[in-house]
Amino acid sequence: MSENIQSSEKKKFTISPQVTALLLALLLFLASGFLPNGFNSVDNAINQAFNILRLSAFLALIAAGQTLVIISGGEGIDLSAGAIVTIAVLFTYKFINGDNAMVLPVLFFVVACGAAIGLFNGLGIAYLKIPPFVMTLGMAGVVTGALLVVTRGLYDGKVAPIMTNVIARDLVWGIPGMLFLWIIFGVFMTILLERTRYGKQLFAIGVNRLTARLSGVRVDRMIVATYSIAGALAAFSGFILVGWLQNAGLLVGNQYLFPSIAAVAVGGTLLSGGKGSYFGTMAGAIVIQLITSLLTTMQLPEAIQQIVYGSILIVLLIVYGREKGIRL
């Protein structure tokens, strides 16, 4: 029965959101060549493409945990991701302090911190029934507040040379190391979502919590696990981010929070849960990053940039962000 429905859906000519997003990205990129200070040769174009891909990679990394949380449904969202990225950036920067030997221990420590913060989110949401929006918003406040208490606005440190080499520089054939990391990460996320029990149960609780529970999924545990993984992934992206920035800041993660949610939405993941993919998020991140880069290249004033960014986002959502099945 379900196969019948699927095959009849396939017969209709539809382009998946991910492909649309990628086509759109390509179009936007080619359009950027016509700008006065856009690229003017093939080499230049390739360079610029890599640069944008590298920036998209950070956005997509931060959006990875967000994708999981949003798929889990129940108005799932992680507004603490930005704060977790910040805390990971600061910890990495401070504790590594330019020492290659400290890279792995600090990575584990930072990821564990992120997972612990996510665990609190998950416990509050699953067992205390706090809506995810305010739970994670409050958690962002707690994390930022704790950072203020500990650092008192001052921080100090240095990135390890190995991180600079792998993340910020070109690895082989002029391709940034970050891109290899991103591809490996993308494969890992896709396997997690499509090929594991965790992934199957995640989609199940996203579609319908009740039916998932009746068919034997431990919903509360799944929620706690998902928010913990999201926290760990956010911390991991903070660790990577500091390798690129070579510097830290007390609010460095916040600017990525809403763009990461936009990337998830543009990538065709339903914000109401139960449907989505990491491939979509990757495509969405490229689109969002391209728009941002284009607006920066055009050197428009901040006010105009905001207006154009918002308008493009609205148009993107109208084109293919519509929720199916609502005809009221």
Binding site: V134, F258, Q306, I314, R322
Partner: protein, 330 residues
Amino acid sequence: MSNKVDLQEGWRNFNRKNTYVLSLIIFIITTVAYLLLQPNVFDEGVISRLLTSNFRTWLPVILLAIGQTIVMLGGGLDLSSGALVSLGNVILAISITSNEEPWFNLLIVLGVVALGLIAGFFNGILTAYLGLQPMITTFATSFVYSGLALLILPNPWGNIPREYTKVYRNTSWFGIPLALFIIALILIIWAIIKNRRYGHFLLAVGGKADAAYYTGVRVRRIRISTYVISGLFASLAAICYTLLTGSGSAVSGAEMTLSAITAAILGGTSMAGGSGSLIGSVLGAIILGTIKNLISLSKMDSWYRVLVNATVIILALASPGIINLIRRKK
């Protein structure tokens, strides 16, 4: 034994019908703590002065929380209302500079209200009519509104005549400030609407949209109307905020959106829609304000303030869940 079960059942029913009960309890606790920390509360005029100074500061967020609650009752979310406050605030600040042309000033105020209604309608069309996801859509429109605000007034500036700000800041009758009268008026109007057709339809749409649709409710219209109401309250909040500060800034409303949502949820309104109350949201906003006041009264090291504020808010949000967990164990 059965008596006890009845009592429990009754308490649960009461809770379900009056979603604001817990926020009322937290409100009483925080307010009593606040009053105890104030020196000489019982002197003449102190209470009245406290009411005036606090409620004129809280009113913008309270108004936003009320608008947000209506949207949430219909099953939506409006992340653009704070940006609308900024937009209204800067328009008022650059236009109203003297009290010599009262009719022109009134026209500007009405223009800001109309702008709020139009912006809300735009949000409504996008989310309810085109079926876009409310959270990300209203976030996108908030960029447009705050970008416009920044375009109009890049640097904070303003010179609202003192004759106007004085009316908002200091008016009170019988020791009760103007802001409280405004809140009471809104709550009374809502109490009437709530039990009429619109109120029933709104809760039906938020609770189960497709069932409402099959029983003949015009779901889209109701949803659009909630965003229009939210836009209206955002422009009212902008007017109050401008009168409070006497000037304009393009980021004045940025922090208010999330406060308003937190206030609504503290007040027992469900994010999934269909259940909640305006009085709860008003209480929620007052609780948020009182917590801030308590922190500044406690003379705590200023580095700890953000942490303590956020922790207390989480604890307040968690209190219904904690009570339920304890009760289930028993």
